[in-house]
Structure formats: structure tokens, C-alpha cells
């Protein structure tokens, strides 16, 4: 059932920019329109293209913020989140812990 909702109405997570928009709702209490506009501005794309796989696939690869298909050696997980926190200028708590552990 959750997959039906994802397909019908949701942004697609790391297939597109869904995770990035979600971070803005979580960390800045932004409603959907504001969150999309913020992320689109940071990425330098039109908000309409945030769910366009053709655009977001290459952009995510270039920015090193994780891609849905597994690229050997490509950033994923905490390293991708590290870059996402910098890109969006937000605090991600797991990243902060990671940085502390590295002495950064």
C-alpha cells in the first residue's frame, strides 16, 4: 500500500529530489511549495524538474549526493548525507555525529 502511495503521489526519494525536499520539511518546517522552491534554488533547477529523473539522475551523480542505481565507489549513506547537509545548508544530526567522530 505504501508503494502505491509513493507511485501515485510522492517525489521518488533518491530517484529524484524527494529526500532533499523532505529534509527541508523536517529541519525548517517548510510546507511543500516552499521546500521545493528552496531545494530548486540550491540545485539551480526549475522546481518542476525536481521529480524529473532525466535531470535529477545526472545532477545527483555530479553533486555526489547519492543515486538510486548503485555506482561502485559512488557516495551513498553518511557520505552522501554529509554533502546534502552542506548543499542545503542544514543540520543533519547523524552527519554531525559522524563529523564529531572524525574530529572535524
Amino acid at each position: 500500500m505504501s508503494i502505491a502511495h509513493i507511485m501515485a503521489s510522492c517525489m521518488g526519494g533518491i530517484r529524484t529530489a524527494g529526500d532533499l525536499v523532505a529534509w527541508m520539511q523536517m529541519t525548517r518546517k517548510m510546507k511543500i511549495g516552499e521546500a521545493k522552491a528552496y531545494v530548486a534554488d540550491k540545485l539551480g533547477v526549475d522546481a518542476f524538474n525536481l521529480t524529473n529523473e532525466e535531470i535529477m539522475r545526472e545532477l545527483r551523480k555530479d553533486l555526489g549526493i547519492g543515486t538510486v542505481t548503485s555506482i561502485a565507489g559512488g557516495p551513498k549513506g553518511i557520505t552522501a548525507k554529509y554533502k546534502i547537509a552542506e548543499l542545503l545548508d542544514i543540520k543533519i544530526r547523524s552527519v554531525d555525529l559522524f563529523k564529531t567522530q572524525l574530529g572535524l
Partner: protein, 355 residues
Amino acid sequence: MNKQVLTRMGDGERLWLSEKKVRSDIEAGTEDAAQRGSIPVLDSEEQQQLFDIIAEPSRVVSVNPGEEVISTDDGCTMAFYSGQDGGGVGTPMSRLQAVLTYERACGADTTSMGHSDYSYKPVKSVINYEAGDYYNISQATTVPFWYGAQPNMGLYFQPDGPCPNASELMPLGKIAEARESQEKAARMLTEDMVFVGRKLAGVGLEGLNFDTSGSAGDADFLAALNAVEELKGSEPDLPILMGGSGEFILGMHGEVTYKGKRLAGLYPQDQVKAVEDAGADIFGLAINTSTRESLPWNLSRAVTFLKAAGKASTIPIHANVGMGVCGVPMMEQPPIDSVTRVSKALVQIGKADGL
């Protein structure tokens, strides 16, 4: 001849309704919500939009490109490996495998984990195991990773917990004792929720979900509000999603207040204001599905409540769309035709920020 529309009842039964009946159920559903919640009905254009979504002949429908929203969940990854009780399909997977599958194969915007009992009280005694798993998985996930559970204040009453059972005291006329017991249970619940939240915060928790708050009534909702406030005091950067459990808060106590506002009987447009005041970042809206009414009636009602709550709110609202909530039929295996119609209508007409 009046054209027929293939739709469902609130219990999932498939049936054909005339277009006239679909329209009259939409009208009756929005009027019911408006009357109960003292909120506006859907206007004629919105009712037409809803009719078009429901009467669309395709099996599956979706939002228009560019109108997509964010998905959060209440332990959907557990459905990969759990059994029937949790709506699970029983695949032998680990938590880590389930979470990464949900992120990478299903394209979820966020993902989550939770204890199989999905209540804060049992988590307390196994918090170090939960924190260890949370930390390990958070190193591998890219999308936001929540920890979720329900307040579930019922677990604090005898025979499951230490407090005298309020539901047994009330029929005996011991109202003051029942209220006192609920207040005690609420304090214990808040303490446990804060304990779990702080422990997980110590391992880099990215977001905490207080799911189905108020299921044991107004004191349960109060306990969750107090936990949000206390956690935000010590962990101001911890994102918290607080969800309701129904369209109005049950007055099992009847007199508890939060910041001067009585909680019993609050409808979603007021629930969200209390959640905002406590400091939560996202509100999860829940509207009951009536099994005796049709999907057009239930969905129209849910959209009406959602729209009013969205107008009142300054924080994002995610509509809860599990079994028997917000128009989704109340059954173990909700049909995909109904699920996608609910999904589209809540986003495009109700203006949900997420599901």
C-alpha cells in the same frame, strides 16, 4: 441511462454506484465534516474535481507532474519482514535490508524503523539494541531516516501496567480516580517518550515520530505534546513528527488542557495548532474511515478536514493513509484503486504536504 462508477465501500467491498449517488455521497461527506468540525464544505469546483478522480475509469490514478509530495511512514519497512498482524508480507529480511530496499527499490522520500510492538513503553527496556540498530542503519541510508513508535498510553494501565485501569473505574462511577490514574499514566508515558528520544538523539537520530498520538484519549495526546516540548527544550534540532489518531480527540479524561486549551474534542484544525505550539515540525493528520459509507463519502470528508487543517497550520501536514484512515478502506489489503484515488485527492484537493 445513468452512468455507473466502479468504487468501494469503506470496508473495501467493490460496487457500482450511479454518478448521481457518487455526487450525493461526496456532498454528504463534506457536509458531515463541515458540521462536525465547524469548517467550510468543499466548494462545487472541488466537489467536481473529487468526482473526476473517483470516476476516472483507470484502475490506478496519480497526481499531476509537479504536484508530488513527500512520503513519511509508520514503520512501512517492517511490512517487508513482519507478519499479518503488522500488515507484513513475511519476507526473511533484516531491518537494514528492509530499510535500504524501501529507500532504493521503492523510491521512498524518507524511511524509518521501529520496535515490532511499535509503542514507546517496550522500547525503553531494549533501548540500547534499538539505538545500536538505528546507528548502524543511519550510516547506510541516504534519505531521512526516522525512528517511530506510538505513545499507546493503554499499556500503562493494569494488567499491562502499574496504573489502576481507568476504563474499569469509570463504569463504577469513580470518575475522579479514573482521571487521576490517566494523569499518572500520562506522566509516565511522557517520561518514557523523552527517555527514548534522548537516547536515540545521542546516536545521531535524524527524526522522531510520535505516531497515533491520542489513541487512549486526551491524556495520551497531552503526554505526547509534553514529550515534544520537553525534547525540543533539550534537543532543539531534533525533527519531530507528531501524528493524531482520529478526527477528534477522545475525551477519556475530559478536562486535561495544553497551554490553556482543553484537548478533548479537538478537531484537526485545532489539533495541529496544539502540535505547533509544542514545537513539532510535521503534523500527521488522521481521519476515521466509516466502513458503512462509500469511498466517495469517506474521501470527501477526509479532504474537507485536511483542507481546513492546512489553512490553519504553519507547519507541514502529512495525511495518514494507512488502513482505515483518511478514506483508505478499512481492510487488511487495501485495494490499489482506492489507495491511489485517496492519495491523489488528498494532495490535489486537500493540499497535503506529504502522505
